[in-house]
């Protein structure tokens, strides 16, 4: 075997490896032999760390010294719904400072659910001469001052995407900090900014960047200025409008319509806050080329939605409010045969009664009419096992299925039975299902079906479901490819957790809140499994001041090679092997 290693010079292997992009494949390559491991690590250019606490920046840098692109994720997914208290963690600063000295040629940073400060942004802008891409998805902790530093110093910036981050708006003038000779912007997404940015700076920026393909504006950009921008960037492929409302004026309309017609490459539309329906026809000229349409902030009624959607025969992705109604989804099913992804959001999520005629029927229609449908997020108020079984049989190619029946514990509205068999049909028929979110009235049986059939499932979200530990046991013992499991308000306790402790090391993370896991079990888990961080999150105070049998509030367990973290706030405790490390 050592002789094999000498038959190819390193340069040749390196060249071959440069064609291998996927992390999985590169990980496999690095396990072949010592020399392949070494060659691979020097040639790896992209690193993705799905949980920033799973490994330390030092370890990453030590193994991969020549990285150009880093992607990190911080807080657990349920942080999106306010279940993770403020201050929990996800700080990117240690990563930025480590990389500032170790990776001078770093080009791309992509963060999701992390806390990043203006200081870090400034450090980025000054440390990486060839910095090209900054994507901050659902991040927080920074202000427009940090953005000003990026604008002023990153001469080679191509992409600035603020996602759905929370940005402290100190001044709209940060955009003016892009120098006059800066022309390299390709993708700019400022949709999340609450206040006005300097419009003239925006106009000039758009006008001088000939490669601009993506422009997502914020709500504060008025409609009557949109035509102007579009005329300066007719090469746009993706556009997010600002507020889509203005007094109905024929001149504004014809300018807008003309501008849209001039954008021959436009394939994706979003924005559409505060829509005045009279202006919708301005986009009709480009509808037939659209692949992606995000109307999830557009409070327009079904008839207008139908008129719009019926013209988008090439639509692959639609995000929309439930104003579309079952009738609109019927129209979608009839017109958009290439549809791959549908998300229907609730217009009145906290109302007690349904405010629109949107039921399970709409989803059934789309599942029947759209043969390529594989990704669904659907909020509704009623569901039946029969509908779920129909959807499952229609769409065995489904890969992501997230159903949210708004009222917890809602049974099949026709039979008043739990929805176990309906979801069972989904996992049985959709053999490539990778992501599933459950809702409605569910017993332990649904988990038995999931454990038995959902062999490719990677992420499962469970709320207000199940009857006993058996439910959790089915998931942990049956789902071979499970990476992320998040559970809230279910009667799952210690038994299943401890019996399946080893499984947790094969997963990225487990979240359990408002369940019945006791403090004692958490301690035991932490002691037995040194490869896991077992974090107890409890704002009531130190858990060891209560009896061990007392259930804890929130549990977050994740595998890690770098031990307990040191940036925990006062309401988080790590259950460690060494009791002395437990801070209380």
């Amino acid at each position: 075997m050592p002789r094999m290693g000498y038959s190819f010079p390193e340069e040749v292997l390196e060249h071959v490896f440069s064609f291998i992009q996927s992390d999985e494949d590169r990980n496999a390559i690095s396990e072949v032999c010592r020399s392949w491991h070494d060659i691979e690590r020097w040639s790896r250019r992209r690193v993705f760390v799905g949980n920033c606490y799973a490994i330390s920046p030092t370890m990453v840098i030590r193994r991969f010294p020549e990285v150009r692109s880093v992607k990190l994720k911080g807080k657990p997914h349920f942080a999106d719904f306010n279940l993770v208290p403020e201050g929990w963690g996800g700080y990117v600063a240690p990563w930025i400072s480590a990389m500032a000295s170790a990776y001078p040629w770093l080009e791309e940073i992509r963060l999701k659910r992390m806390v990043i400060t203006d200081e870090s942004l400034e450090l980025i802008s000054k440390s990486f001469k060839n910095f090209k891409v900054l994507v901050l998805s659902s991040c927080e902790g920074f202000s427009t001052d940090g953005l000003a530093a990026i604008a002023a110093n990153c001469r080679n910036l191509r992409e600035l995407d603020l996602g759905e981050s929370e940005v402290e708006d100190l001044s709209g003038h940060w955009l003016s900090r892009f120098p006059d000779n800066y022309t390299s912007m390709v993708s700019l997404n400022i949709a999340c900014l609450g206040w006005e940015v300097s419009f003239s700076a925006l106009e000039r920026l758009v006008g001088r960047c000939p490669n601009l393909r993506t422009l997502r504006l914020n709500r504060a950009v008025p409609l009557d200025k949109l035509a102007n921008l579009l005329c300066r960037a007719p090469q746009l492929v993706e556009l997010g409008t600002g507020a889509y409302s203005s007094e109905l004026r024929p001149d504004v309309f014809s300018n807008l319509s003309g501008a849209f017609s001039g954008c021959k490459e436009l394939k994706s539309l979003s924005g559409f806050w505060d829509v005045v329906p009279g202006y919708l026809p301005a986009v009709y000229p480009i509808c037939s080329k659209l692949k992606s349409l995000n109307l999830s902030y557009a409070t327009i009624q079904s008839p207008e939605l139908i008129k719009l959607v019926s013209q988008c025969q090439n639509l692959q992705r639609l995000w929309v409010l439930d104003y579309i109604e079952d009738a609109g989804l019927d129209a979608l099913a009839a017109s958009c045969k290439d549809l791959r992804e549908l998300r229907v959001f609730p217009s009145d999520p906290f109302g007690q009664e349904p405010n629109v005629p949107l039921t399970e029927q709409g989803l059934v229609s789309v599942s029947e009419g759209c043969p390529k449908l594989q990704s669904v997020l659907y909020f509704c108020r009623q569901m039946s096992n029969a509908a779920l079984m129909t959807i499952a049989r229609n769409r065995p190619n489904m890969t992501r299925f997230r159903l949210c029946i708004i009222e917890p514990h809602t049974p099949d509205y026709l039979t008043l039975q739990p929805l176990d068999v309906g979801f069972g049909a989904i996992v049985e028929h959709c053999k490539d299902l990778r992501r599933l979110s459950l809702s409605g009235l569910l017993t332990d049986r649904v988990f038995e079906y999931i454990g038995t059939h959902a062999k490719k499932l990677e992420m499962l979200s469970v709320a207000f479901a199940g009857e006993s530990d058996l439910g959790l046991h089915h998931i942990l013992s049956g789902c071979d490819n499970l990476r992320k499991l998040e559970i809230r308000d279910c009667p799952f306790g210690d038994k299943a957790l401890l019996a399946n402790a080893a499984k947790l090391e094969t997963m990225r993370s487990l979240w359990m809140s408002s369940c019945s896991v006791s403090f004692g079990a958490c301690k035991l888990l932490g002691q037995k499994m040194p490869g896991l961080n077992v974090e107890v999150i409890d704002e009531r105070g130190p858990p060891d001041l209560r009896p061990e049998s007392c259930p804890i509030d929130k549990l977050y367990v994740y595998r890690t090679v770098s031990g307990p973290r040191f940036d925990m706030p006062g309401f988080v405790w790590t259950m460690a092997e060494n009791p002395a490390l437990r801070l209380s």
Binding site: D80, E164, P408, H409, R540
Partner: protein
């Protein structure tokens, strides 16, 4: 004569209420099925004893003050704050505007206008009408309307029909009432709950 209107605002709501629940389960039973933990944080009492009674956070702690399903649950439905915040239009809510309806009374020289929003229910409304027009309304009954009253309160609803005030739940009345007319009792015969 006392003009007591002897019924409640939400007339017979419970009887017609549609509930989603397993047959045979009671509303309160359903509460105990899911976590009795409400999302108000209990006071940080570090001497809290745990046990069958003390541990208020055990999900199966029987029928302890179970929260009503009507109170909002933290983080449910699962919608990002970003989306929740952005869904509301920046204009003020229409509810703030008030629901003004004209009130006419047979024989009165001119009409009045009232804001239905300021009344909590039928008793207050009728009291206000009596004060405004200086008359009295008799007792309401589902079967016989305002039998024996000199004047009878009626209203025109969204469909253009003239209805007896008091038949439908208050909220439904508020959203469907277009205007009020206080009819002479003799003319009002025929308007009753016989519909």
């Amino acid at each position: 004569m006392e003009s007591k209107v002897a019924y409640e605002n939400d007339l017979n709501l419970k009887a017609t209420e549609l509930r989603l629940g397993l047959p045979g389960t009671d509303y309160s039973e359903e509460q105990a099925l899911f976590s009795a933990r409400n999302n108000k944080r209990p006071l940080p009492d570090t001497n809290e004893k745990c046990g069958s009674k003390g541990c208020t956070d055990a999900p199966h702690a029987g029928n302890e003050t179970a929260p009503s399903t009507k109170t909002q649950i933290v983080g449910w439905p699962p919608i990002r704050s970003y989306r929740k915040n952005n869904l509301q239009p920046k204009k003020t809510e229409p509810e703030a505007a008030g629901i003004y309806v004209k009130v006419s009374m047979d024989g009165a020289p001119y009409l009045r206008k009232i804001d239905l929003r300021i009344y909590k229910g039928y008793p207050e409304l009728l009291q206000a009408l009596e004060n405004m027009f200086k008359f009295t309304i008799g007792e309401y009954s589902e079967r016989e309307g305002y039998k024996g009253s000199e004047y009878v309160p009626t209203y025109e609803d969204k469909d253009g029909d003239w209805m007896l005030v008091g038949d439908v739940p208050w909220d439904m009345f508020m959203s469907s009432c277009k205007r009020l007319r206080i009819m002479k009792g003799s003319e009002a015969r025929g308007l009753g709950c016989g519909i």
